[in-house]
């Protein structure tokens, strides 16, 4: 797994629990205990009330596709082997929007509004990236 050549997320001290979570196959959302806001991406201080009393809640792992774009070219060399890449913004019921890739589906099957679920892919020993796939309707 040390062969991973693509960029890894630039982790900050206050986002470390998110990545500890994905390694344990949990999707954690930062939560402000003072004003009850769910925060994405993770910050040092709550962007609503500046409280530093921040914790984490575990998300359901389900989401809705807000939009998507299938990339066929124009990426850095290290991503070329993955083409076509299905980029997506997904809305979590926890009230946050994430950028991800949709996996385990064909580009022509993707629709705005479709339901997706998280799938974890370890890329190094430390880093597990969360991706999303269509929820099976069968």
């Amino acid at each position: 797994m040390s062969e991973y050549k693509k960029p890894l997320p630039e982790i900050q001290p206050y986002s470390q629990p998110f990545w500890d979570g994905t390694r344990e196959n949990k999707l954690l959302v930062q939560h402000c205990n003072a004003c009850d806001t769910n925060i994405f991406y993770p910050r040092r201080d709550c962007p609503e009330c500046w409280s530093q009393d921040l914790g984490w809640i575990e998300a359901s792992g389900r989401a809705i596709v807000y939009t998507y774009s299938v990339t066929y070219e124009g990426v850095e060399e290290k991503f070329v082997e993955d083409l076509p890449i299905i980029l997506a913004w997904i809305d979590l019921p926890e009230g946050i929007r994430m950028h991800t890739n949709l996996v385990e589906c064909e580009p022509e099957d993707v629709r705005i509004g479709m339901e997706v679920e998280v799938v974890y892919r370890p890329v190094t020993e430390e880093i597990t990236l969360p991706f999303f796939r269509p929820v099976s309707t069968s």
Binding site: K6, P7, L8, P9, E10, I11, Q12, S15, F40, Y41, Y66, T67, Y68, S69, V70, T71, Y72, E73, G74, V75, E76, E77, F79, D82, I85, L87, A88, W89, R97, M98, H99, T100, N101, P107, I112, L129
Partner: protein, 393 residues
Amino acid sequence: MTKSGLAVVGIAEVPTRRDPERTRWDILLDVCMGAINDAGIDKNLIGAVISNNPMAQPSMQNDMSLGKIPEVMGLKGCRDIAICNAGGASTTNCLRLAEQHIASGQVDFVLIPHTTVQSDMPPQDLINFFATAPLDKQFEYPYGVSFNGSMGLITQRYMYETGATEEELASVTVALRAWGALDPLSIFYGKTVTLEDVMNSRMISTPLKAKECNLLADGGGAMVVTSWEKAKAFGDKAVYKLGHGTRFMSATPMLREDVFHRQSYRESSQDALAQAGLSIHDMDLRQIYGAYPYTQCSALEGYGVCEDGQGAKLWAEGRCGPGGDLPCTTMGDATGRGHTGSGVSMAFYLDTIRQLRGEAGERQVKNCEHAILTTSGGSVMNTCTTVFGRAPR
């Protein structure tokens, strides 16, 4: 109360092209001298140099930040230098900082230059720059997003919400290229495209096709600005800044609630028009720097030129291109002109000034008295809207 403000009295620009033989300093000196000569003033009357930051070019940034321009050019009256970086909106901030100098009464003329050469940079480095500088390196970049991909995501949603078709959006590029084909400063001078050319070009990031994405190029331009009072002596050469408004949205595209920037276009244009004492219907020209076709549509919706969701139809009906009754973006935008990094905004201001002077050649908008112009920086983090006119008011 007597109003005052900023006026542009000298401009110069080099043709946009890909030419690694033309150095950054060649462009810079040509446009700086050109703008001062166009104003017809002595070089030593330049009291400050406020530069547009060439973001992707660190050595040039250092030269421009640390005072090389007045030194190399022998600008003996230069009291101050500064550099502004807001990505594509950098020139807007240069104008605002220059305005402070002019308003202080301590400086009469400010030089605002830009230079960019991208043709000598490896394509992979440029893809990396545009994928990392304006996007999130923790939660976006690891997923293989490019700048085109990010704008593809927004365009897909725009089509979903408005019902705009791929053909209607492709008509935006046809019109922008038609403007560019008439402009000797465009990399696409003499090169129109048809709807079929756009629709049949390679798919890059759905729904964006190759001809709807930007060709990175080299270019540069400069302006000399002064006060309304001093500008009177320059006659028809002077173009007056009448109003300005800006709205910031977000650095990171996925966090943007105003996903098409429509509200941001609406509020910034209302502020600018209110300051100018004019209405959107007084505008003879609309110049929109969004770099991707959907922005040419959502800006018209935000400005109040049409109902929300109807912007693409105006382009498809041919109303915004050459010969149309609502001329928009005669500069061609980055799609129809070539993308010169943070300099696209400079080229937009210069084209607007040319139109208001009546010097836009085959692209000249008839009786162009007032123009509205919006620039944006980063991944469209903001909309900076300015109203210009041929006379102060």
